[in-house]
Assembly symmetry: C2
Homo-oligomer: 236 residues x 2
DNA sequence: TAACAACTTTGAACAAGTTCAATATTTACC
DNA sequence: GGTAAATATTGAACTTGTTCAAAGTTGTTA
């Protein structure tokens, strides 16, 4: 039903990868300027100086281009965040870095992000937020949050769940970012700071033995629902 | 850019509303049987014994049909839930009713719900989850949760925020439902019961004066972000 | 270098959502 | 009953994502 978004498995010629990248760049430029819907594959092909069919040689579908963009985002995000972790002194700084760098990467690409979100609710789609097709990318991002938490002293149950929960928070923030029409998406930045501040300041309370029963109950519900595995399809 | 999903404002002839309903029924039947993507407007027109153009006379676009479906869902949901409230003894039963009836209405329509969710991330789209175009429907649903809470003794700050928060929970549950491939979506039912159980059982703790500072902080963050107004566009 | 295979490119054709000018039908009013 | 305005209906045409068979190009091997 859906085509996978991944690249061809066959060997290519010298300039091929370069052409592919050029098509991608061209497409993204047009998406940014005119929006995803508004940009035609004929536009892309023309701007890339290719025939329509040739564009399809490099990307099996229009959304595959968006898929490739998301690959890039994830890669870049991990790189930027890891870089920021180097000089980040404490948990607060690491969490802020993890979230802000994500927005940094996509600051000018809300148009494209919109196209990406479109398939979130279709479990079998290659771009589904929680689908199996995006598991690897999700994993990378979740691991990043695990890294941000690395030095923290946490009860075991919380330690397992926290990265997934932070990933969920991060998805919510992306959704907010999508709707955020404040100039430069300042409100999203503020929301990130506020949310991180809250998480950091209340982590002592959150992990206190007093709240253990409450915590336990929430985690059981989430685990039962299959939401802690890797936050993937509710039915693994 | 987008067409509104609402009905024509012009007066109609006697059978018109009936025909419109018939087109809607026909379309929904086909959507349910074959999926949204797989159902062609030509299929719909043929099944409704109309020409292609005539179908467009009743609905300005394919997604407008989904929009009309959602109108129906909301209406039905409110009716069912209110009915259930009549005989519901306590908060637990009212919250369960509010959530279960929503799933009841859409039990066999996950295909259609998928199409509906597709536009959630596009602020200006008539079907955007948090967009201005769906404000009225959102309002109805939020009010329903307010009703479920009616008899409860709650601190003022919580009272204002709770319905919106429950609505957000309800959106999350819909997303889960979308991905839930367990037979009859039993897992969604279980998740609802578990979530409601948790909310009801911990409401004493949640509103305790001890946690007031924590609560205050969360609410301030959400209010600052514009997420409590009616959970609409982050920038109202 | 010739021949072959693998990789690229092309443009025509197809499917499906959407538009629209033309036509048919109904209703309102005289 | 006749007629004009309003409402419904039609199907052809347009746009855009996608497919594909054919043709062009490049690298490899004998």
């Amino acid at each position: 039903m859906f085509k996978t978004a991944d690249r061809r498995a066959v060997p290519q010629r010298a300039g091929s990868e370069e052409t592919r990248r050029m098509v991608l760049e061209t497409a993204l430029t047009l998406f940014r300027r005119n929006g995803f819907e508004e940009t035609t594959l004929r536009d892309i092909a023309a701007a890339a100086d290719l025939s329509l069919g040739a564009a399809y040689y490099y990307f099996p579908s229009k959304e595959a281009i968006v898929g490739a963009y998301y690959d890039y985002v994830q890669e870049k995000h991990v790189a930027l965040a890891r870089g920021a972790f180097e000089t980040a002194g404490d948990l607060r700084e690491r969490l802020r870095a993890a979230l802000h760098t994500k927005i940094d990467v996509m600051q000018h690409d809300r148009q494209i992000l919109r196209a990406l979100f479109r398939y979130g609710g279709e479990p079998d789609h290659p771009l589904a937020w929680f689908g199996p097709a995006t598991r690897a990318q999700r994993r990378l991002c979740i691991d990043l949050f695990a890294e941000a938490l690395a030095g923290e002293r946490l009860p075991e149950d919380v330690r397992d769940a926290a990265p997934v929960l932070l990933w969920t928070l991060h998805m919510g923030i992306l959704l907010y970012f999508l709707y955020d029409s404040s100039t430069g998406q300042r409100r999203t930045r503020r929301l990130i700071d506020a949310a991180v501040g809250f998480v950091v300041d209340t982590r002592r309370v959150a992990v206190s033995p007093l709240l253990r029963p409450v915590r336990r109950r929430v985690l059981n519900i989430l685990r039962d629902a299959g939401l802690l595995v890797t936050a993937e399809a509710a039915n693994a």
